[in-house]
């Protein structure tokens, strides 16, 4: 019996996400879902910490996200990859949680209508990507939750603009604009906190 269980666990490690989902839905065997959990739990938890900035809340949110995934697994249609689907549930869950907790909170940076096309070109990715991790952590904490989600999707999950738009239910141009605003906002927060110190080491 134990040998069969061990064999099942070791073979499930080699299976793709889609195969694991199909087998879980067919057999209702928790080991297949555990395998999916092991693949994505760390990433989901890291995203929850990034969005909620609280270890305890992130732990509870990770649990809720996985229960949501479990309950909706049969609705996963493979229109996107499983990872994109999992991350979209995570981001939307965290945004909703923040929205419920703080009723009048700003989800995205305020409308920076004055930003011209020239400014759009002037904000390089290095503003975020080259920042020292401890400083980046502090800067990210001060960003609105929607901006954090957009930056994470673009620079960690390598999602396309269209995919980000699908997750947040926004148009591609709105997402492009929001990425730029988030970068400007992050740069502003950095300058407020560290003055003119260079971003990269």
């Amino acid at each position: 019996m134990t040998t069969v269980a061990t064999r099942k666990t070791s073979t499930s490690a080699a299976l793709s996400d889609s195969q694991l989902i199909a087998l879980y839905l067919r057999d209702q065997d928790a080991r297949y879902f555990s395998q999916l959990y092991r693949r994505y739990a760390g990433k989901v938890f890291a995203k929850c910490i990034s969005m909620l900035a609280d270890h305890g809340m992130a732990r509870d949110a990770t649990q809720d996200v996985f229960i949501k995934i479990l309950l909706n697994l049969s609705k996963f249609t493979e229109q996107s990859s499983f990872s994109t689907w999992v991350y979209s549930i995570t981001y939307n869950y965290c945004i909703d949680l923040i929205r419920k907790k703080k009723k009048n909170i700003l989800i995205f940076s305020e409308d920076v209508g004055r930003i011209s096309k020239e400014t759009e070109v002037d904000i390089p990715d290095s503003v975020i990507l080259e920042m020292e991790t401890n400083r980046l952590e502090k800067v990210m904490e001060k960003l609105p939750v929607g901006d954090k989600a957009i930056l994470n999707m673009k620079y960690i999950d390598d999602m396309s603009i269209k995919e980000i738009g699908d997750v947040l239910d926004k148009t591609e141009s709105a997402i492009k604009m929001q990425i730029m605003r988030a970068k400007i906002k992050a740069q502003g927060i950095y300058e407020e906190m560290y003055g003119t110190e260079p971003i990269s080491n």
Partner: protein, 87 residues
């Protein structure tokens, strides 16, 4: 190019509380149990109610009962006395 956001994510991934897997496994187990209960118990309970009020066999159970009857068939007996003798 350096990617500090990915580095930060990797650092945080390592902070995943190990007890979370047990908590989620418990939920998965409970849900599986209840889905089995619903699948096995509810149609039969409904059947009892329907028959009590004078109704017919539920369509969803007809197929299952036929399958069950086939599984319980005694294969030592010839299928039918009307079949021609092979000899």
């Amino acid at each position: 190019m350096n990617n500090s956001l990915k580095k930060l994510q990797e650092e945080r991934e390592a902070m995943l509380p190990p007890e979370l897997e047990d908590r989620i496994s418990q939920h998965v187990g409970t849900l599986s149990f209840f889905s089995n209960v619903v699948e096995v118990f509810v149609p039969n309970a409904l059947q009892v109610v329907v028959q009590m009020v004078g109704g017919d066999e539920l369509p969803c159970l007809k197929k299952a009962n036929r399958r069950q009857a086939r599984a319980n068939m005694d294969w030592r007996k010839p299928p039918s006395p009307t079949l021609p003798d092979p000899a």
